[in-house]
Symmetry: C2
Subunit: 480 residues, 2 copies
């Protein structure tokens, strides 16, 4: 019990958990709530919890219920107890690999997943699922196919754009099965084989997949360390006569840059001159961490319908929800909806109801993400300062990853070695088109602080020792 110097009374903990007395099964909801308080740092580790009978009294439940919840937490490593000394909060050992590792989701491969910048599910999810369960019967009377998306969700998305400074009508919104699906639909509608398409370098890898699938001629434009240079973008657009340009102006993936107003205005103006359509990926737009100047969505600078925006529920709420959207002219929305009959008919109805509900409390989830991403970012930066002082990066003001410059072009080798030490990494080459960016690494800070600290320690070992034994077979996973 070394180091246990704080304790919580039954009343204090009851106030902190604040769960619905009707929640079922109560003990699991209680355990899960305590676990998430620990995971995001609101309940520190090594704090003594109240005796079971005190917490039971404070919550107005049976002592057995609290015992079951404590047992569950203990089994999973979030609670340690000693006879006569009580129970205190703890963290499971992130170092124990394998399917039983409590940090690893069901069916994952047991490696710490630092290849993917994907936050865990937001807290608002269970309530939204319950609400969708109440509303879906109205839709169950019908076929359930809504190629363009259900009206309440299109209204919610349009209202959010309007609130962000870009007046939008629901007819301008097409609900998709995630941002990737949106990008695929747009490329199918707007790109023919051989068409030049401008992308940023580095950029989101699966957009490169889409462009290749369509047989586009990919024109990369580098993003210097200080962010976009408008003249580079403009020149490349003009010289290549790009039909489409794909940009990520808000916390660019992977660099984390935020495009300023002047560059936005200049980019749209250049696109108008070159007759280029801009596809704007706003997957990370809602995930500012620090105070940033209020910047209007890129489409707010549009005057002739050449900016098409793509958004997603994945990063703000959860990737397991496959819901995204496209904002375009109403005519383009209808055209894309017709096209989608050949791709997948419609988005799942239940998920659309879930996301509609999630929009109601979007600010709460944004605050939750700000808090957890800030803590994780700080942990990652601290761990790198300790173990990898020669790695360089700029700390981004939002988004979910550091774009690290390594002292030597060794990203892929390091990723191989790290896999042997239990960490999956995304080498810089994933984010470029022609094997460049070998001297880079994207390190996400979307996992809890403890996972990041553990992972950086392992990467440091991997860097010294190199790969050994047989590298684990890596299952297929996207690099998001």
């Amino acid at each position: 019990m070394v180091g246990v110097d704080r304790y919580l009374s039954g009343t204090q903990l009851a106030r902190l958990v604040a769960i619905d007395p009707e929640a079922k099964p109560y003990y699991r909801v209680l355990a899960e709530t305590v676990r998430s308080l620990i995971l995001d740092g609101r309940l520190p580790v090594r704090v003594r919890l109240p005796a079971e009978r005190h917490l039971a009294e404070a919550l107005g439940v049976s002592r057995t219920t609290v015992t079951s919840a404590y047992d569950r937490l203990r089994e999973r490593g979030y609670l340690e107890s000693r006879q006569g000394a009580g129970s205190w909060t703890a963290l499971p050992d992130a170092g124990s690999l394998g399917a039983e590792n409590p940090w690893i989701a069901a069916e994952d491969d047991g490696l710490l997943p630092l290849h993917s910048a994907v936050p865990l599910a937001a807290r608002a999810l269970p309530a939204a699922l319950a609400s969708a369960g109440e509303h879906y019967p109205r839709y169950a009377l019908g076929a359930g196919y809504s190629p363009i998306g259900i009206a309440p969700l299109r209204q919610a998305v349009a209202a959010r754009y309007t609130a962000r400074g870009l007046a939008t009508r629901p007819e301008q919104i097409l609900v998709t099965a995630g941002a990737q699906h949106a990008l695929h639909l747009l490329a199918t509608a707007l790109l023919s084989p051989g068409d030049p398409m401008l992308i940023e370098s580095p950029t989101y890898p699966h957009m490169i997949d889409v462009a290749r699938m369509r047989g586009a001629r990919i024109v990369p434009v580098g993003i210097p360390d200080d962010g976009w240079h408008l003249d580079l973008l403009t020149c490349a657009m003009r010289q290549s006569a790009a039909r489409l340009a794909y940009v990520i102006p808000d916390f660019q993936n992977p660099t984390g840059h935020l495009m300023d107003d002047a560059t936005r205005a200049g980019l749209v103006s250049a696109a108008r001159k070159c007759d280029t359509t801009l596809i704007v990926d706003e997957t990370w737009s809602e995930l500012a961490i620090d105070e940033v100047p209020r910047i209007a969505p890129l489409a707010a600078f549009d005057t002739d319908g050449r900016v098409i925006s793509v958004g997603s529920a994945s990063k703000l709420w959860w990737g397991g929800l496959r819901i995204g959207w496209i904002r375009a002219s109403a005519a383009m929305v209808r055209r894309l909806a017709a096209l989608r009959a050949a791709v997948d008919i419609a988005s799942p109805l239940f998920e659309q109801l879930v996301v509609t509900r999630l929009f109601e409390d979007i600010e709460e989830t944004r605050a939750e993400r700000r808090r957890t991403l800030a803590a994780s970012r700080a942990a990652l930066v601290a761990a790198l300062a300790e173990h990898m002082p020669d790695w360089e990066f700029t700390v981004p003001r939002g988004g979910g990853a550091l774009w690290v410059r390594l002292p030597e072009p060794s990203g892929s080798t390091l990723a191989d070695a790290a896999a042997c030490h239990g960490v999956r990494l995304a080498p810089g080459t994933w984010f470029g088109v022609d094997g460049t960016l070998e001297g880079r690494l994207r390190l996400p800070f979307t996992q809890p602080p403890q996972v990041l600290t553990e992972a950086v320690g392992r990467i440091a070992k991997a860097r010294v020792r190199g790969p050994y034994g047989t590298r684990p077979a890596l299952p297929l996973t996207p690099a998001l």
Copy 2:
């Protein structure tokens, strides 16, 4: 109250509804249960229901609860009451069009939807949603992306194939976002522009969309009125050197034919000789209505991995669930899963849990569908016998539609006229490639009997009167 000659006691109705005493809100669940008993004919219309206090006693709930449930049923047209005479079951007037029409799902256009062969949601859905709500937290700890599908669902699908006589391992299953998505993935992987692709004529319209999107050369093979002719299929396959052939052997959409064992064996053998890959659409396979001989899935005749099967949760359970699957070699499954990163990353996780649960009681839902589809099919056949004695069709032993031969080539004109009379139809031309099949009409029997009876009466009027006024603007809807 003319014609009310039966009544139910409180105890009888309580037994019939058999709802969970914990259901919330109880009055709505009660009203919804009574409504669905009426809709599928287990509670006939014009049956007097018990007095509120008697039902309240029998259910062990307050009288107010029953009053609220009765009020709700009355508002929606499922209950009629008269002072002193009690309340009796009724059906809302399917003729009253518009958004308030109780037969029309939320956001539908107010026309009776006879263009689409899509059953309403199965009864097993609410319980499966609840079960998924309990299981998803295990997955919420991770990123939520599973490009190949979650293990329990792949196991359930594989087990079902095995039970149907086709030994299958989970590695052979890729979970998709519905059957359409599966067809799109397969066409993307296996078809290049200009490749010949054999399809049946008539066939499922959105497969034609996919083939066109890929730039394939479409080779239609007619299905005569008595079903497939193996020699026609074989000749077309050989002469066209088709790279792919797309067939729907189980309750073919739209003809309803069921392919016999000998034709299945011959088709696979011909495909082997011509080096053609067979894409087998089994969307309707689980929906036999009459007793049919047990016929093995087409892939059971495969010896060298050239048969790829596509299945779906849409028809058996609900179209609003966007879950389907592909059964192929494990190597092909991995190839398709990699491809899907560029299309939509992964299927929604929650929906996968729902369908996993639904598989557990698949036989119950099959029995439910047999019962309701049989009743609807009978109502449609009877209404056609009364109003359209000159229309010809063979009653199929399963599936969801009649493939009607009209006495004149007037399908599209009739569909236009019917829309003016409140019914959306699918003219035969939708199911062919080159404007043929104008003398055909697909009439689904997936709606409740009352809707079909009402719709046929309207079509009869439309046939006589023709289109009038302005045809309502038809929103975008797929022809499933």
